[in-house]
Symmetry: C2
Subunit: 332 residues, 2 copies
Amino acid sequence: MRRASLHGEIDLSAVTFLSPVQEEIKLVEERMRTQADNSHSDLRAALEHLLAAGGKRIRPTVSLLVGNMLGAPLEKLITLGAAVELLHTATLVHDDLIDGSLLRRGMATLNARWSPPATVLTGDFLFARAAIAAAETDHLPLMKLFSETLATIVNGELTQMFTSRGLVSRDNYYKRIYAKTASLFEMTSRAAAMVSPVDETVIESMRDFGYQIGMAFQIVDDILDFNGEQATVGKPLGSDLHNGLVTLPAIYYAEANPNDPDILSLPNGGWTNTENMTRLVDNIRASNSSNQAMREADQHIDRALTILDSFDNCVEREALENLAKYIVDRKV
Amino acid sequence: MRRASLHGEIDLSAVTFLSPVQEEIKLVEERMRTQADNSHSDLRAALEHLLAAGGKRIRPTVSLLVGNMLGAPLEKLITLGAAVELLHTATLVHDDLIDGSLLRRGMATLNARWSPPATVLTGDFLFARAAIAAAETDHLPLMKLFSETLATIVNGELTQMFTSRGLVSRDNYYKRIYAKTASLFEMTSRAAAMVSPVDETVIESMRDFGYQIGMAFQIVDDILDFNGEQATVGKPLGSDLHNGLVTLPAIYYAEANPNDPDILSLPNGGWTNTENMTRLVDNIRASNSSNQAMREADQHIDRALTILDSFDNCVEREALENLAKYIVDRKV
């Protein structure tokens, strides 16, 4: 309901949810930058490059908004934000190496400039610094949660690697996007509540909030892979499918068109046939599948907004609402 | 003094220091094995393979002996031992990938059997599980120390990667072996004391003990690279030098023979010349350099034994003494 009025109506820029924490995000970035202070100059340069490649710092923003709303000490939130973003960056560094990606957000990846060994070790270094930052929150349950989330993310990537490509499976899809994306959003929001003076119910609410926006975030990413503007997304449309990765729009299409020969070919390696996959991508784009997938993302965001309803109105709550809406309205 | 009588006198087998904790080491291995319980079967198989490739579990042994001597709860020591050995294994997995090594301890490395992506991720998985195990000790300072040690190790590897090969420098050498090896021994021994009912002085003593045996361990490794029996060491003699890595025996030789043309060639890439390096390795083997390096290792072990002298005699202290002596007397 609530969501229906949003799509295409306003262009919610990141500013609407970033503004309350703009200065604090700079402190998070500063904290990230200092991680390589005592390290080799080449490593410092690599960290600078990764920081410049940036992104919207949506995870630290979640940590700051949730924690500020709940009265957490700012220092802990900055430390947590840096830990989460370092962990996220570390997984991206290894992901890009594994996928052989040369560009991310329009900038050269580390592996495009550095040797594979240097890239592996830089990722490891970022894991280590993320763990140090997490430990600096001085909060043992948070530290455990942090380690477990790293294990979830890596285990998800390994499972994806070992699972046959071309698999059409909803269950597999949800597990995969939880591990890949939602687990870290969930952890971030939950951890921000854990360092706040609130009870278990609130912590559980904020965990759920993080989970819901995280699931939506990845579903929208997967929709944009089909329906985004190629120039904005920065990679060929349908690139997931061309790599044998069957995401939600393709799953909806497969359910509606079970006898489509291109769909039938997927589990048997049909995704390696570029011509057929280009046709399938076109068919999925022309179908209603992305709208159906978007409805799922909307449902997650609706749940996230409902969770926020139970909190007193404040600038952070409003910003979190805008952030949640932005996740489904964004174009990149 | 003490050490002079030991070399070549008795063959101290690992048994003399392993026996008091033999059963407990099995519990550590069991704890390591359960790390992949909820993971993909291929990952479980990889962990089994890595566990089977084994080694002497010298780090968990240090943790158990130190902690048992000082009255730590066994459960914490087993958790710590598993954390340390998982971390050690993770670094080996990435190291072997980076070096392209196909064998370790006579068994196929993971990267010899698996793709680089799967190997990168398995290393990451082991880091994550090591962090979880460290967090399970429920000891925040230990957790911090653990993260910092991981950062030290990775930073050392990166520095080594960025530093010009063929560099003849004592200072660089000591820093390198501290980061590579001694830091983890130091952390292990210190952490075992940290979870024991002892005061800061004892913790500092055990930190120093770990440091001393760790430095000795790596110096002896570097000596064995020149003077070991090729069949036992399992790689060509002088392989470090052939890779442009100048270790302590070569440094002593360089100091005694500053005008040796092969030594002079090292900083300018002379180490890439196989014929010259084979001659240099022969010259170092024929020289007194390895004996001089061994004297340094002996001094570290002497310091370690002196530290133990201040503790009441007990089966663990005796085992730690034997372990320290084994480090300089081992042939592999």
